[in-house]
Amino acid sequence: MEHLTDLHTALVILAAGLATYLTRIGGHLLVSAMTRIPPRLETALNAVPAAVLTTLVAPAFFDGGIEVKIAMIVALLVGLRHPGLPLLIAGWGAALLLRHLFLS
């Protein structure tokens, strides 16, 4: 870190920000170039939320310890009835509780 000037850090941050912005407009630029969206593509685009968000969950479950697995199952069950904050608190609480029970 010492060898990086402030200007250097700022430029890297700006470049990373630009790279991120490109990902946020990229798909839009591709799709907006079409005058009409074919139904098949629309089905695929409709699958985007589940497809992407699942990849942020599944590996964490698969590679997580037993307390992570239990916490995520608890969160899933709670989330079916009470999405949002209750799900978050249930999952987080379960993981914390299990860790403190087994680690102390």
Binding site: D6, Y21, T43, G84, L96
Partner: protein, 235 residues
């Protein structure tokens, strides 16, 4: 009229913003721990506005990794946003160009998830709703990063506080929000399996893009044309 949409969006942003507050604090703390100044950490949140990629980038800052590799890694972690902007694109057609390209800057995971739920509910996303949510989430994200950077020592060990579980649980909640969409029960296991396999072969962060593409391609293949009657009228 539009101010009530703005308020509804802002309310959605509050829920999201407060759930992501721990991550903002964590990011600020990790950034300063890795040698960044609080100003740089806050600037990073303001310019990139993507939690996971910022954490990856900041961890590389501490090492002697070349700058282009840091930028490439941030790009790789954020690659999934290409799919988000493609999926949201049809619903941005009514926006002015300035509003559209401003809106896309704020297209984070929760912003995309909540905007998609608006589409499920109302068939569209009002610009004032979108920006109401975006401004609140952005403000809380930048503020929590700054606080984490200034008072990072108080945050402590992420694992002991369960932050590592909070993120996947949070995304699990977002996934559940789409369980009534067509093909959900097929797309989820395919994306899950592909991402786990990719995680253990290609490695992170590409498992996200590979798993996501697997699910999207599955939907593309499994698409069934709408039933005959309205074939001519829809476009």
């Amino acid at each position: 009229m539009s101010s009530s949409f703005f308020r509804q969006g802002a309310r959605a942003g509050m829920v999201v913003g407060f759930s992501t507050l721990p991550f903002g604090l964590l990011f600020g703390a990790v950034a300063v721990d890795g040698g960044m100044t609080p100003l740089e950490a806050t600037m990073m949140s303001g310019v990139i506005f993507g939690g996971a990629s910022q954490l990856v980038g900041v961890q590389m800052f501490g090492t002697h990794v070349p700058a282009w590799l840091i930028v490439l890694s941030v790009f790789a972690v954020n690659f999934r946003h290409i799919l988000y902007s493609a999926a949201l694109s049809p619903h941005l057609r009514a926006y002015s160009p300035l509003a559209r390209f401003s809106a896309l800057f704020f297209l984070t995971d929760p912003q995309f998830a909540e905007a998609s739920k608006q589409v499920d509910r109302n068939g569209k996303v009002e610009p004032s709703w979108y920006f109401g949510m975006a401004f609140v989430v952005y403000g809380l994200w930048v503020a929590s990063s700054a606080i984490g950077a200034l008072f990072g020592r108080l945050v402590g060990d992420p694992a002991a506080l369960g932050f590592d579980v909070l993120l996947p649980v949070y995304f699990l909640g977002l996934v559940l929000g789409f369980r009534r969409r067509p093909l959900f029960s097929i797309v989820v296991p395919i994306s899950a399996t592909a991402s786990i396999l990719a995680m253990h072969t290609v490695g992170s962060p590409w498992h996200v893009s590979i798993g996501a593409l697997a699910g999207v391609i599955a939907a593309l293949v499994l698409h069934k044309p709408a039933k005959t009657a309205d074939a001519g009228e829809t476009s």
